[in-house]
Symmetry: C2
Subunit: 271 residues, 2 copies
Amino acid sequence: MSDAPIAIFDSGVGGLTVMAAIAKRLPQERLVYLGDTARLPYGTKSAETVTRYALQATRALMRFAPKALVVGCNTASAVALPALTAAFAPVPVIGVVEPGARAAVAASTGNGITVIATEGTVRGGAYLRAIRALSPEARVIQRACPLFVALAEEGWTTGPVPEIAASRYLADIFGSFDRPDTLVLGCTHFPVLAGAIAKAAGDGITLVDSAATTALETDRVLDDRGLRRNGPAHAPAFLATDAPERFARVGSQFLGREIASDQVELVDFGP
Amino acid sequence: MSDAPIAIFDSGVGGLTVMAAIAKRLPQERLVYLGDTARLPYGTKSAETVTRYALQATRALMRFAPKALVVGCNTASAVALPALTAAFAPVPVIGVVEPGARAAVAASTGNGITVIATEGTVRGGAYLRAIRALSPEARVIQRACPLFVALAEEGWTTGPVPEIAASRYLADIFGSFDRPDTLVLGCTHFPVLAGAIAKAAGDGITLVDSAATTALETDRVLDDRGLRRNGPAHAPAFLATDAPERFARVGSQFLGREIASDQVELVDFGP
């Protein structure tokens, strides 16, 4: 048993979908969230830069002495997990890629898995490796959909713009005669666009959102180590490296409940 | 007369539209461009963070001993110009906001000016102040269009997605009976979307792109100080703070000519 919080890290507000899933599955846990809004998005940046930013930003979480770190950002999970694991040891570090890959392999009926993600995640190939490690024969198609991040951030989650964008990104994959049966939302921004994405993919496609499976994995890790908390519910804490009022405003729709801007602490890295 | 280069600074690749205009107007000048791709976009970040990033990034340009600094980024021009002017003194620093405001006031027939820009530029109100300083009675409407940045970066500059997006942002302004006559593209990303934007704005609207007017202003400043160069043409230099190959690929369409990825030097700020 441990009263320490679970720390959740993301480049911005997208990881709040992971936070929401963890809060739902583990309602008794204390949660602290950090969004590196001063340097978002990570998805178009190099692996070296993402790793450097992730290490620097997560340092602000160490003062909470968390019992686990969840990397609720696909790009950072895909490229910076080894560095973060080393920096936080012996605190367990949980990424979103492996749980997502496991859920995809479990869901697929054998006709192939498509992973949609940021440019950085696709280029890094982490989903491809994680899926192949579980299912060496799986047919995997990756597709970078960077505009989805901006659409989600702008709150344009329904209507013609996201639908046409989704169709432009996905029509060739899901219009083919051997269309995949499973579609992984490999970016934490994408679940808010699930409707438009599902419409573009068409009938009979299973959408895999790594938020729920990452919450399950977090539960399993805490259980394994005897780190679950049994105290009463505790208000979450939010940190952002820039523009806390924007974090609160845009973040509320990702978390699925209101965040007050005075609930968000600004973390300053200095010059 | 001075053989020193003109330095051009932007958060990413958008300022290359300004560079193209300067190269066209002043073909004999040496140009060096820096894109702060490690921290882009600036448009959603706070004034303090943008100023800090701009000061840090432009330091890399000082080794070229430039004779002028052009801030080819509306957000940085809107919030960081005083700090950059102080840091580079006595080297003149030229932003894009004032030339754009001057061109808008010159173009307007009196029915009002609309400025479209990033959230940061709109919030800072620099265009509003610059236009009012020149024309105190002018009716000015500002509108943040953050998705345009992502569309431009993605290369989705024509077709239904940018057109519907432009209509969603602009329909209420240009559908009104007292529609403005002038539309300022207050972000260096926007000129590549000019077709979709013009279509949404409708007939009889003058689009003002600050790139050409900033080139004119640069010419005037050099002329005033006797700093023009008369040597033969010189290949430009490109610096980026992250992902030089992406800079070259995406940047080529903003510059309007090919940039080879080995032409782009990576500038590392360290941890």
